[in-house]
């Protein structure tokens, strides 16, 4: 609609986000060489989560949207984490 504003993200921010993603990707590869035991998956998920947040916030403009949108996206992640939790609740007590 014509009254809507679009936010222009400067190139410098885009490049900074790209660099951060590359660094985190490098870290994702690097930690495969380390042994965290049962926490291997957790470490990989944390890094993947950080990358997802960068993509959502800057590339998908969530940072510049009304508060409703980040809240709804966060709700989706909460549901996803709860589903994971309930699933592994079974495995933890077998």
């Amino acid at each position: 609609m014509s009254e809507e504003k679009t936010h222009m993200v400067p190139y410098s921010t885009q490049i900074a986000a790209l660099l951060a993603l590359l660094v985190l990707t490098g870290l994702s590869v690097a930690i495969t060489q380390l042994e965290f035991g049962g926490y291997n998956t957790l470490a990989a998920m944390l890094l993947a989560g950080a990358k997802a947040v960068i993509v959502l916030a800057w590339y998908m403009h969530l940072k510049y949207e009304k508060q409703l949108f980040p809240v709804m996206v966060a709700a989706v992640f909460v549901i996803f984490l709860l589903v994971l939790f309930v699933t592994f609740f079974d495995y933890s007590y077998r």
Binding site: V76, I79, L82, V83, V86, T87, F89, D90, R94
Partner: protein, 544 residues
Amino acid sequence: MSDNTNHKEVSYLEYQGKYRGILGWILSTDHKRIGLLYLYTMLLFFSIAAILGLLMKTQLIAPGETIMGPQTYNSFFTLHGIIMIFIIVVPGLPAVFGNFFLPIMIGAKDVAFPRINLLSWWLYIIGILIVLTSQFTGGGPPDTGWTFYAPYSFQTPTNVLPAVFGAFVMGFSSILTGINFVVTIHRMRAPGMKWLRMPLFPWTLYGTAWIQILATPVIGITLMLIIAERMLGIGFFDPALGGDPILYQHLFWIYSHPAVYIMILPAMGVISEIIPVFSRKSIFGYRAIVLSTMAIAFVGYFVWGHHMFTSGMSGRALFTFSFLTFLVAIPSAIKVFNWVATMHKGSLHLHTPFFWALSFLFVFMIGGLTGLVLGALATNVHLHDTHFVVAHFHFIVFGGTGFAFMGAVHYWFPKMFGRMYDANWANLGWGIFFIGFLSLYLPMFFLGMSGMPRRYYDYLPEFHGMNILSSMGAWVMISGILIIFANLIRSARSGPKTTEKNPWGGKTLEWQVDTPPTLENFDEIPAVDKTPYDYRDYAENTNS
């Protein structure tokens, strides 16, 4: 331009756009035409799946092999399940009546993304075609059941891959419809239509759409894992390779239980539309129904484990899933209470849609309460994988979604087609269908409690009596369906024409637009200044 002249006056059925004839339908981005495309597709496949069901019940009319052997029986219940679940009831009400009426009920000219809407239908058709190829190619029709349980689904020589891939493609259709509805409801409500002035059918579509968006990708990934397992032997689910078959069940039901709410929530929305209209009374507890809708959508994510009580989960998981299952019954019961309370002291108008709504309440209560029997850990051990389960989910899925679907067709038929059906034939069809439905499925509860397993083409002699009753019920029910379909098809083609905007005395926006609606639904987008079921004027006129 010649292709959009008169679009404000001509009905969507007569409007001639860029394409004519069949192309004017299968390439149309009009939400109403897309809704009807889904309806016609579902009618065709429902007929096929119903015939499969009828043949299965005929096989079970006596012990031993009567009209088919075990392998044919296995492939019949697999195809029956795949069609009924993935092609009929999951897209069901949202795809047909959601597409047709959501924009009109919230005061919009179309959905937010009309082209994506058409793409959804095409993906749905492509998915169906892929599933159908599984019947005629490779190692024969799949025999896994619609759940594709591992490890059998990657060991059977039958043609599982196309069936799984077809369901995967149809999942995309479901996701796109969900995204379309969420955006439409957020962005395109008429001026003044605040969230709590939105009718209840759109509310249930909203809850459903979120489930479609969030849960469907899980089944997509799971089905891909089955394909990878069959083709590459990776070992996700194969114990011989270190995999875990119970992981498959977790992943499958993480989607497929919320999918039950994809089926039933819009059905509850339809019933919430019909009951106040035919009771001439504002709906009792509008906010409670809205909250219970969203509560069902949310809690419904976390009850999937009740399908796996005998699979070998940990004791604490069993307890947790049983508790959550009992929890999700509460908002469902709130809705039933509100519907009954709406009818209380209402001015009941006994027309066909209302009969469907009343019978929905009856069968939904039986389905819901038997669900609690299955949700309790101890009784589940006895009843798991028996006919009791089959009866329970047919009461919920067919009795719930199916009855609401029939109610919706009879409720919105004059608006959709600009013609009226024969009420006497419609009522007769309903009556025969209802008697047949109960005769078909009630005996299954007793059979299940007596220990007759599901998915067996044969049974012990002591189950014969109940099976005869059940099989006869199937024939009665199909007779009812034939009467209903014949009446509706004949009426859509040559029934008495009507242009009456509001034949039932409804209050929501679809009853204020032309019959049948014009291409863009509204000449001017209406301003909404009150709640959707305001029958105070009716009460005042009746009292005065």
